[in-house]
Symmetry: C2
Subunit: 245 residues, 2 copies
């Protein structure tokens, strides 16, 4: 600090907004804070940046601590630094946006931190400005999903098109036409047919695909509008009409 005598140090926190998908709803991984201030209240998982650690490494450390997972998809979301946001001290927090496959994480680690997966629409009020962070993260998720096929991080490595569609429908809370979605997705040539079929589905087995990661990186910036216009769109005729004959 001798180089910059007039500057004063500030506490730098890292907070993670962690999304998961259970096949039906988008969920958030939240913890019950076990230290003061705000002990016992719901919060994002976070921690302070270590003096000898890079930002993304700090975020990964915190995510590993909570989930037992390495190589989680993380990106910066924004910085929150309003004076007084944390009554304990002047802290500035970097919010990280993380996507994980809900089935991969370590349940014991979760229990240890009093963490739970909570549906977006049932989430409790959070401490400090964590509510704002979550809102920004949701907006970011929608924004990205609108023009890129993202969300693969939220699904197993092998997934079906109907699964991906349900994810998109959850992100936007809007029904999407099955056939148009499928066509658009396939036309990207981003999915590789594994030749396998989903063993879980109760009726006709859906094809399992995996992401062509190389192509995905290359094409990521040839954006497509990925969302259909958000208007009511109920499946009429079609299946119903096929009943009897």
């Amino acid at each position: 600090m001798t180089t910059y005598p007039h500057a004063s140090g500030i506490l730098l926190a890292l907070d993670c907004i962690i999304f998961g998908f259970d096949g039906k709803d988008i969920k958030l991984l939240l913890i019950k804070r076990n230290f003061e201030p705000e002990k016992g209240n719901w919060s994002l998982m976070g921690g302070f940046l270590h003096p000898e650690e890079n930002l993304e490494d700090g975020a990964s450390r915190i995510l590993f601590d909570l989930t037992g997972l390495r190589k989680i998809y993380v990106e910066q979301l924004g910085v929150y630094g309003n004076v007084g946001r944390d009554p304990g001290a002047r802290t500035v927090s970097i919010a990280f946006f993380a996507l994980i496959n809900i089935n991969d994480q370590d349940d014991d680690a979760l229990k240890f931190h009093h963490a739970s997966w909570i549906s977006l629409d049932k989430r409790p009020a959070l401490i400090f400005d964590h509510n704002e962070m979550v809102l920004q993260a949701i907006e970011h998720l929608r924004y990205k999903a609108a023009m890129h096929p993202i969300g693969f991080e939220l699904l197993p490595e092998q997934f079906t098109i109907p699964q991906l569609q349900k994810l998109y429908e959850a992100i936007y809370a809007v029904p999407i036409d099955r056939r148009n979605f499928s066509r658009k997705l396939l036309s990207t040539n981003l999915l590789i047919d594994t030749g396998l079929k989903d063993s879980y589905s109760a009726t006709k087995k859906a094809t399992l695909y995996k992401l062509d990661s190389v192509r995905y990186r290359e094409k990521f910036n040839s954006f497509w509008n990925f969302m259909p216009e958000a208007k009511e769109q109920v499946e009429k005729g079609d299946a119903k009409a096929t009943v009897n004959k």
Copy 2:
């Protein structure tokens, strides 16, 4: 700090990537640093966050200091915090993305800071990780402009469609078809015809429009792909063909 005894303070810097447009090229506002380390070298304008100041206020303070302007368009771009990025001390820097109308700023303030507007493609190497910040800012500018009609902050309050087109062409370094651009833009109903004509243009006066800010905010998230496919597209026939007769 008594609340968080295990956390240690870190220096928090704010650096601004400032874009301007002179009607032809996108320019960056850079300064010659007048203190150590790296004294005399090209740098982004920056400063340290004050202990009692919000982040955006800090950025605005720094921008005002350099340009003499209030109410500059600013948004967060990202945080740079690699260990060793600043050899003087462990500092973490928040990069801010700013757009200003190049004609508005105060020349005296610029001189005081040894600041210059420099075309993107002629920019010198910058200190620390400022080069990365600029690259990210350019990418951000292109990304945003690809799906939103942005850039109004880079133009005067009243502007013509050809001006806006030149801005887009500068952002992407790609020629755009005049008629298709105009049609697409007008179809958004985002521009209000002021009834006035551009007095500067040498030939036919172009219509001056202003932005419908209310509608702009409302429609911002009904994204359109705003960029034409980036392929060579030369105007053939047309004007040339009109020569003689």
